[in-house]
């Protein structure tokens, strides 16, 4: 992954981050909105994956974004190039605090001019994804659906799944790979199809 990572953040993007951090510290509300647009999805992705609870993730993503924006307004991030690491650290702390104490840490005094992190369009988009995901799993053969369930929900390895389903482990691996690629392509939809097919090609190399 290292070679992939090296190219993942260009110099231009680093400069954008620096401009964004400075603008938020200077009170630019549009920059805050840009910040939410950039980080809301990865924060949500991380919270869903680590908590495996979408409702909790929806609550905690607000806490993360609010805490991050408040900290940026106060100018607490001294190295703007580390914006992503900064947001990630807040997200991990927020989730770990919740899991340790089973309670959310809510700021006592919330600034009243924070950007809306739970917009209606985001909710609609999320529902759309859910609908496509349901269609995608419905389109799978029962065996492939079983394999994905045992992989993604039960966290079992192909060898264990093979034993449970009385199959050859190589068959499980192949079917899992094909099914995963298929559902990802179906969920991402036509707008992402170019990216998805590119990924499959790269992965098959």
């Amino acid at each position: 992954m290292n070679s992939e990572r090296q190219g993942s953040l260009s110099q231009e993007e680093t400069q954008q981050s620096e401009r964004m951090v400075r603008a938020i510290a200077d009170g630019d509300r549009d920059a805050e909105w840009d910040f939410v647009q950039r980080y809301l999805r990865p924060v949500r992705g991380m919270l869903v994956a680590r908590s495996r609870n979408p409702d909790l993730a929806a609550d905690l993503q607000q806490d993360v974004m609010i805490e991050a924006i408040c900290a940026l307004r106060r100018g607490q991030l001294h190295d703007p190039a580390k914006l992503t690491a900064f947001v990630l650290a807040i997200a991990r702390n927020t989730l770990n605090n919740y899991l340790r104490t089973s309670s959310r840490t809510v700021a006592l005094e919330l600034p009243d001019d924070l950007p809306d992190v739970n917009s209606e369009s985001d909710r609609l988009e999320e529902q759309e994804w859910e609908g496509r995901a349901l269609k995608a799993i419905s389109s799978l053969e029962p065996l492939d659906r079983n394999i994905l369930q045992l992989t993604l929900i039960d966290g079992l390895k192909p060898g264990v799944i093979a034993e449970r389903l009385h199959l050859n482990p190589d068959v499980v691996r192949q079917r899992k790979l094909r099914a995963t690629r298929r559902v990802i392509e179906l969920v991402q939809g036509p707008s992402q199809k170019g990216i998805s097919s590119h990924i499959v090609t790269e992965g098959a190399k």
Partner: protein
């Protein structure tokens, strides 16, 4: 502009979503996809799929390949023959014992699972009892009370919601954490359950420590992690508390210590 082709997500997203990716790799993957729209899109798609599978689970049979009728018929005949042979041998053994009552019968061997999938079947998913009447009077937290009532009625989802609102510093916080972890386990949120119960264990000596270790072991069993289960069960045994006997029973059923898959 990102130059990533999506290979990191292709390699790691599945384990990451399943909660089985080691923490160091999870962190590295997070640092990557936070700045990589290609991998983020793949991850989100997989999360959406996992969510729908979780909401619409299918019952997974032991064997999913449909056997031809002829094979089924042969199997039935073989089963009848086997029953007849076992029945005859049992009859013969009883007859021999009746003739020679002093002879001891062969000791019953405890069956030990030889496969990792059988390990998960050892997991004890029964919820620890909690009497609602045992809640203290006026001092008890309102959310804790509501959470434990939901728990006592078997509504784990509601229990988790209410127990999450119990203030961290309150007298009931650790108990709330324990039952919240057990409920998450019951709801098959194994990663979250493990983290919550680790938090209880990490608090050290407490009335909840033993139960937390025991249910931490059950999560390891569900994940077919025999080494993790053994470690936690041995700690339960060392505490000599209410769960000692159950822990000993489970330890006796675990396969001999060897490297995991």
């Amino acid at each position: 502009m990102s130059h990533c082709t999506g290979a990191p997500a292709e390699q790691l997203a599945e384990q990451y979503v399943a909660g089985t990716l080691p923490d160091s790799e999870s962190r590295a993957f997070e640092e990557h996809y936070f700045d990589c729209p290609v991998c983020l899109a793949q991850l989100q798609a997989l999360e959406a799929v996992a969510l729908q599978i979780h909401r619409n689970p299918v019952k997974i049979p032991g064997r999913v390949i449909a056997w031809p009728a002829i094979v089924g018929a042969i199997g039935a005949i073989a089963a009848l023959l086997l029953i007849a042979v076992i029945g005859y041998r049992d009859f013969a053994r009883r007859a021999a014992n009746a003739k020679n009552p002093g002879a001891s019968s062969s000791p019953v061997e405890k069956s030990k699972p030889s496969s990792t999938s059988a390990i998960s079947q050892l997991a004890d998913l029964s919820l620890p009892p909690f009497e609602v009447s045992s809640l203290r009077g006026e001092g008890v937290n309102r959310n804790f009370s509501a959470g434990m009532k939901a728990y006592a009625s078997g509504d784990c989802a509601a229990a988790v919601r209410e127990l999450a609102r119990v203030p961290a510093g309150s007298a009931d916080a650790l108990t709330a954490q324990l039952y919240s972890g057990v409920c998450q386990m019951k709801l098959n949120q194994l990663a979250a359950a493990a983290t919550i119960l680790d938090g209880v264990v990490g608090k050290g000596d407490s009335p909840q420590q033993e139960a937390a270790l025991y249910y931490r072991a059950q999560i390891a069993l569900l994940r077919s992690d025999a080494a993790g289960a053994r470690h936690n069960l041995e700690m339960v045994v060392s505490l000599h508390g209410d769960f000692e006997e159950r822990a000993r029973t489970e330890l006796s059923k675990l396969p001999a210590d060897r490297s995991e898959n």
